[in-house]
């Protein structure tokens, strides 16, 4: 009986085994690190004001980046979902570039625009905002590497909204703005929220670009690296665990919120 099942489902079985390898490869390191941690040390780390400050800073900076990204990215996503123009594919390709640009190189590139002695950096410097080793720099770095996630997700969301719903709304007397805010936006809402979550999470995870642009004030991923470099693995580990846990809690809570509304 079982033998018969194995014979007829040999492919499924093979696929399950291969898939299991990669699944365990992802889950085991994270699981082990979290489960094998000493609660006492974790608590100590939790009470370490430097750690907590850096985690808050990370969450906060990523949140600002996400807010800015949402304001500027959602309209762009709507345009890309609805309009057809020559070179549209090129624009879409360019927007996705930050995902594939090496993070440290991205940091260098940003430095050449937002650095004290360059274009935008100078302009902002005149009004007292500087990007190197500052909160603003962290936000800029996070925004750069994470914005494509939001735009792609929102674009997909808008694409799934039947254009004819907007058309019906127009024929019923809605202006383009009304059609957008009453029909398209509410219907694409879930994708936009999911995109925001992804963008926030991706911002929190960034290390390379931030390291170049703003080593200080220290965000959590930088702190993990600093402790690893300075004190070694055992000191870096509780910070990393705490950071991963915060990430997961935020990520899971928000995702559940989105999926709950689905029902």
């Amino acid at each position: 009986m079982i033998r018969k099942w194995i014979t007829t489902n040999r492919m499924t079985l093979t696929f399950v085994l291969l898939g299991l390898v990669i699944f365990l490869f992802i889950v085991v390191p994270l699981g082990k690190m979290i489960l094998a941690s000493d609660p006492a040390i974790l608590l100590d780390t939790f009470l370490d004001s430097e750690v907590m400050r850096s985690i808050w800073l990370t969450l906060y900076a990523a949140l600002i980046a996400t807010a800015v990204g949402c304001l500027l990215g959602v309209p762009l996503a709507y345009l890309l979902a609805r309009a057809n123009f020559p070179g549209k594919r090129l624009v879409e390709g360019l927007i996705d570039i930050p995902i594939v640009v090496p993070h440290t190189a991205a940091g260098i590139a940003l430095l050449f625009v937002f650095g004290r002695n360059f274009m935008v950096g100078k302009a902002f410097g005149a009004i007292g905002i500087q990007f190197v080793d500052s909160m603003a720099g962290i936000v800029i770095a996070m925004l750069f590497v994470s914005i494509p996630f939001l735009i792609d997700s929102a674009k997909e969301g808008f694409r799934k909204v039947d254009v004819r719903l907007e058309k019906v709304a127009r024929s019923l007397g809605a202006s383009p703005w009304q059609a957008f805010f009453r029909i398209s936006l509410p219907l694409a809402w879930r994708s936009i929220v999911a995109g925001n979550i992804m963008m926030w999470a991706r911002g929190i995870s960034e290390f390379g670009a931030v390291l170049i642009l703003a080593y200080h004030p220290m965000i959590a991923p930088v702190l993990v690296y600093e402790r690893f470099e300075t004190y070694g693995l055992d000191y870096a580990r509780p910070v990393a665990v705490l950071l991963i846990m915060v990430c997961l809690i935020v990520f899971i809570a928000l995702r559940m919120l989105v999926y709950q509304k689905e029902k």
Binding site: R164, K167, A169, S171, L172, G173, A174, L187
Partner: protein, 348 residues
Amino acid sequence: MIKIKNLCVDLGDFLLYDISFTVSEGEYFVVLGPTGAGKTVLLESIAGLYPIKSGEIWLRGKEVVRLEPEKRGVSIVYQDHALFPHLSVKDNVIFGLRLRKEKHQEIKVTLDWITDLLSISHLLHRKPETLSGGERQKVALARALSTKPKVLLLDEPLSALDPETRENLQQELRQLHRVLNITTVHVTHDFEEAIALGHRIAVIGEGHLKQVGTPEQIFRQPNSEFVARFAMTRNIYLGEAVHKANGDNIFRIEGTEFVSAADTEGTCHASIRPEDILISLEPIRSSARNCFPGTITGIIDKGATLYITVNLPPDISCLVTRHSFEELELEEGKRVHVTFKASAVHLF
């Protein structure tokens, strides 16, 4: 009321060109054409929802090509109803009224009126996804009518429904039009729907308007093979028309000569509607000028009626009821006689 002049729209794959027609106040105008003929785009052009390439669109004596859709006073109902999925039935219906910032009391009056008219009052608090196909389409109609548009555009409103619901809603549409007398443009690919509802019918195909006329004209006097096929005239022949010395007009095909009441000459098409042809076992003495013997070569069973193909030659398809079919004991190979009037032979 509606005047379209030399309208040309780009559909990507092909052009819809040189479309001109007029719909008068209170008319129920049907646009008939195959799937993918650009019927939906035609409606969207009238509503201002699709950019046109050239031409003029007049609504109530005003050129509206540059007018925004929300200012045209035109409502549209799509085949798949296009209800707003995140709003309740009620909010769907009053969507247009809310935009107009009407007073609460006025909205209530209109809502009651329209939901009573379409008997959907019991659905008001449901979400669109929980409705049946027929109910959805009624809600879409209510929503379209709530703003009291000058023109109602219906884009295959019955196509997505099952036969029974379709027939009911068809009756409802006719009834609604009788009550409201609103100028309506209804597009469909279903010939039966077109003649059941339309005051006039426009047949569209291969990128342009083929014929505009009353159902009777489209039905009996198609001006092209395309229209004849669409009107399900099964008997379409290409042959030779001649005037005979005795004054008869003859259409000659495969050695058989049909007498026609039309007076065309030369190579042309002839169409004879299957329901205009009588089948009998013996020749019939009557005023009908055409009577031919032939052999049954095919039977297409449609349930209540059947199409009998008789080879004269040529093959000619005749409609009989199940009743006659059983009475005459028709079957393949049987010798029969077909009879039809000269006026049934339309030449074009």
